[in-house]
């Protein structure tokens, strides 16, 4: 017997004496994250309905589109990756870029708390005994790879730049001859703009960002500019959990909206 049932500890047979609904939060996280994983996997492999040239909209799951398999006009910076086939099926362009945001969220300090608690039950909630017999934390493979978070953070920043450009480009509208004109606002442009904003907030509130900006300093007083930047990032960092969720919903909704528009299910409403 180990843990709270160890021989020298108070003899209490229950794993926890908590009387509140401590299971609610982990159950909710399992539900929401599982739903997102199912939807994102479906969309990543769908390889269709991710770009609407007439509305200047591209799904965040497919941007930047780097494969020669991308539909015409979807690629912003060229297509350095050729068309790959696995078991006769074309590899979706989404798979070449989703690795980075996936890695960023998977190694994120907030999501780690979320999935360690809810999926791995280590622990399921505070002062609720976990079911595992042994525990080594993040000291060995594969969890030691959590230390790569900063690399995914920087890759995420690059993707944020692309998604911001996508949002800016969405403020265009083609005339009858196909010529694009700036200064138009549609629901789609606002959705992409909101998505990019949420992703920037999520990235800038990241603990690694906080460390890089100034947290690694030993002497704040010798680096007043970095110290000031660190205080601003620290303010955002307080809300990192909120930004993690908002940006997750934001990116899923942006993709869903682009899918509806590009598949012709709805038309993208232009305010002007």
């Amino acid at each position: 017997m180990s843990g709270v049932f160890s021989a020298n500890r108070a003899k209490i047979s229950e794993r926890t004496l908590r009387t509140d609904r401590w299971w609610l939060q982990p159950a909710f996280i399992v539900l929401v994250l599982s739903s997102f994983i199912v939807y994102a996997t479906f969309r990543a492999f769908e390889n269709d309905n991710y770009f609407s040239g007439a509305n200047s909209l591209i799904s965040p799951f497919y941007s930047p589109c780097l494969s020669k398999a991308c539909v015409e006009g979807a690629s912003m910076v060229g297509t350095p990756i050729g068309i790959l086939h696995i078991f006769g099926a074309t590899v979706s362009p989404s798979l070449f870029i989703l690795l980075f945001p996936l890695g960023f969220r998977l190694t994120c300090y907030y999501y780690r708390k979320g999935y360690y608690r809810s999926f791995w039950m280590s622990p399921p909630a505070c002062a609720v005994a976990e079911p595992h017999k042994t525990y080594t934390g993040e000291t060995r493979a594969p969890l030691i790879l959590q230390n790569s978070h900063r690399y995914f953070f920087f890759a995420g920043l690059v993707l944020n730049v692309f998604l911001t450009i996508d949002a800016v480009l969405a403020f265009r509208r083609p005339d009858s001859s196909g010529q694009m004109h700036w200064g138009h606002v549609s629901v789609g442009s606002l959705v992409l703009l909101a998505n990019a904003t949420f992703l920037w907030l999520y990235s800038l509130s990241c603990h690694t960002c906080r460390h890089t900006i100034g947290g690694r300093l030993r002497n704040f007083s010798k680096h007043p500019v970095r110290y000031r930047a660190w205080t601003y990032v620290s303010i955002l960092n307080h809300k990192h959990q909120n930004f993690a969720w908002i940006s997750l919903f934001g990116v899923a909704f942006a993709d869903f909206y682009v899918r509806l528009v590009s598949s012709g299910s709805i038309s993208n409403f232009f305010f002007f």
Binding site: R117, E130, E138, T139, H207
Partner: protein, 253 residues
Amino acid sequence: MARNLNMRIWRGNATDGGLENVVVEANEGEVVLDVIHRVQATQMGDLAVRWNCKAGKCGSCSMEINGRPRLACMTQISSFAEEETITVTPLRAFPVIKDLVTDVSFNYRKAMEVPAYAHPTNLAPGEARMEQVDVERSQEFRKCIECFLCQDTCHVIRDHEENKKSFAGPRFFIRIAELDMHPLDTLRNRKQTAQTEHGLGMCNITKCCSEVCPEHIRITDNAIIPMKERVVDVKYDPLAWLGSKIFKREGIV
């Protein structure tokens, strides 16, 4: 207004024990420690409970109230529903001595394993100067009252007795962070030893320590995660390591 309160109090020692039911009077404005004292005075004269200041500053009356690690002196009776039974047990991460009193000496052993502040040899006592911004950063960590609720709730040792050998716990991670962030501390291997000797890598950031801290120290966000990032700088990030070699600096100045 006084009311009768249903309680379950754990009574026993290291070999045996269990929850005992008791009904005790509770008055408006009282805290759990008040009613435990009333039980002690009127019904269980030999009930063992550790306490001192009754003001949330000494950290003595740590126990688990309805399964949650809390200070008995800071837990208002009014925070529970009238019909609710309040269950009080000793801290479940440490060996029990008697009733609500546990042996927390594990924490003092771990405290001794953390090297003390190392003052610069070229500065005489009284000559050291620090800017306010540098003081403020570690000031948060010095609010710690050593109630050890964070240690109690940390599943690394609460659920795995065998990890006590190699894991210092959140209370001592804030101590290590405080010293590693200290501009004048000259001991430069705290990051490495945090990982190799104090078990920082075993923490999986589930933030229970921050949730239970009565001083609201942001243990995970301000101490553990920054220390984890500093460990990455010196141990897992080849670019940061290369930078430190090229620029001939530790990376944290």
